[in-house]
Symmetry: C2
Subunit: 233 residues, 2 copies
């Protein structure tokens, strides 16, 4: 069983200090929703985002979207061997049920996550089993809850190592956790780096979150001979 | 050098026989464009699409979007070792320059491809170097143009084989081509199957186009020791 955490992910609702910005007001009118229930998205809020701290790491829901599609669609997940969490830059943690089928369409995904921020649970009906839940939680708190035996983080400025070598250390572990950054630019915070037993760099250039995620899934599957097992079923 | 073809891809403008459908008329009004320059998209045209033949294979621009992001963002492409073509279900072929940086945002990608269908070249200005071009071409015509030494197609109903085994046959080839279906359901047409030297199935369940694409990139990189080479740079 592998746990994947997308960390410091560029997923948040429009911060209060931008609510009065003209571009945001125009956008909220178009979307017919108040800004506290609208996702910050650089594609539409670029000008307004200049006001924000660390803005280069924020407002990219597409990164979480693609990375989750890669994780949830992997044979590893289909075998029930994966648990996924999304930690956001604003210290929320989304727990994703392995059976969740996310919308492939970006706009529908955005609406779904906006609903999640509003109701803290998807589907919102209390009688229905939660596929996505969100709660206030820091990454150290999440790690304490998971109690991993080994934490491996992927970062461009980590120790150079092939993915194959890096993943080979995971398979002997009882409760391995991998951390991939869910943001477009910049690096992990010191807090995140301190949680990792190892931080590795698998390429000489920055790779995108969804690419790293997809490769980890596949390499972990190879390491536990899943491709052969599934073909021989 | 590897050539990737996304084949029979679910990417086309709204077919003429749907132009009079009320849902399409409402949508074209919203988009402020005539339907011949709007992409067919199941997320918005589901009801209208019932009229179309093979509709289960059509209207999914997101598949090409994600798969291209995985291909173009791979170290293999960054090394100049990849050429990508998108063959569409309507027999158009898009040639993608390896240096193309596609929009990550889905709506911007859709607008870009709509512009490509309209002007047949991106950027449209004749003085600027083409990043994307589109022309009328069937898959057999494209294959005759590429003159591959070996064609490997991936299909759920192919011969079961691990990706590692399948890719190992590519690296000794002078001009290998891989074909991945760019559609959500169903199988390759007979015409496509006949072009392949081998058709393999790498998992017991259907895998999504972007997942298969990402894994082929990575496995090919491994087969030519690219991860180590790049880390030792």
């Amino acid at each position: 069983m592998l746990t994947l955490i997308l960390a410091e992910s560029a997923l948040e609702t429009v911060p209060e200090r931008l609510w009065t910005h003209r571009a945001i007001q125009r956008y909220t009118k178009l979307r017919r929703k108040p800004p506290q229930f609208i996702l910050l998205d650089r594609s539409y809020h670029h000008a307004a985002m200049r006001r924000l701290e660390q803005n280069e790491k924020r407002g990219r829901p597409d990164i979480v979207h693609f990375a989750l599609l890669e994780a949830l669609g992997s044979p590893l997940n289909k075998e029930g061997l994966l648990q996924v969490y999304v930690h956001t830059i604003g210290d929320n943690v989304i727990r994703v049920e392995p059976t969740t089928r996310l919308p492939r369409n970006y706009n529908r995904f955005v609406s779904l996550i906006e609903q999640l921020f509003e109701y803290e649970k998807i589907p919102p009906q209390p009688t229905e089993k939660a596929l996505l839940t969100i709660k206030r939680q820091t990454l150290p708190q999440l790690i304490r809850e998971i109690k991993p035996s080994y934490v491996l983080a992927f970062s461009r400025i980590g120790k150079p190592q092939t993915l194959e070598e890096a993943v080979s250390k995971l398979t002997g572990e009882n409760r391995p956790v991998v951390i991939v950054g869910g943001f477009p630019h910049g690096h992990f915070s010191e807090t995140t780096v301190r949680l990792a037993n190892d931080v590795v760099s698998i390429d000489s250039e920055m790779l995108e979150t969804w690419t790293v995620t997809s490769r980890i899934m596949y390499e972990f599957e190879r390491a536990v001979s899943l491709p052969k097992k599934r073909l021989n079923q």
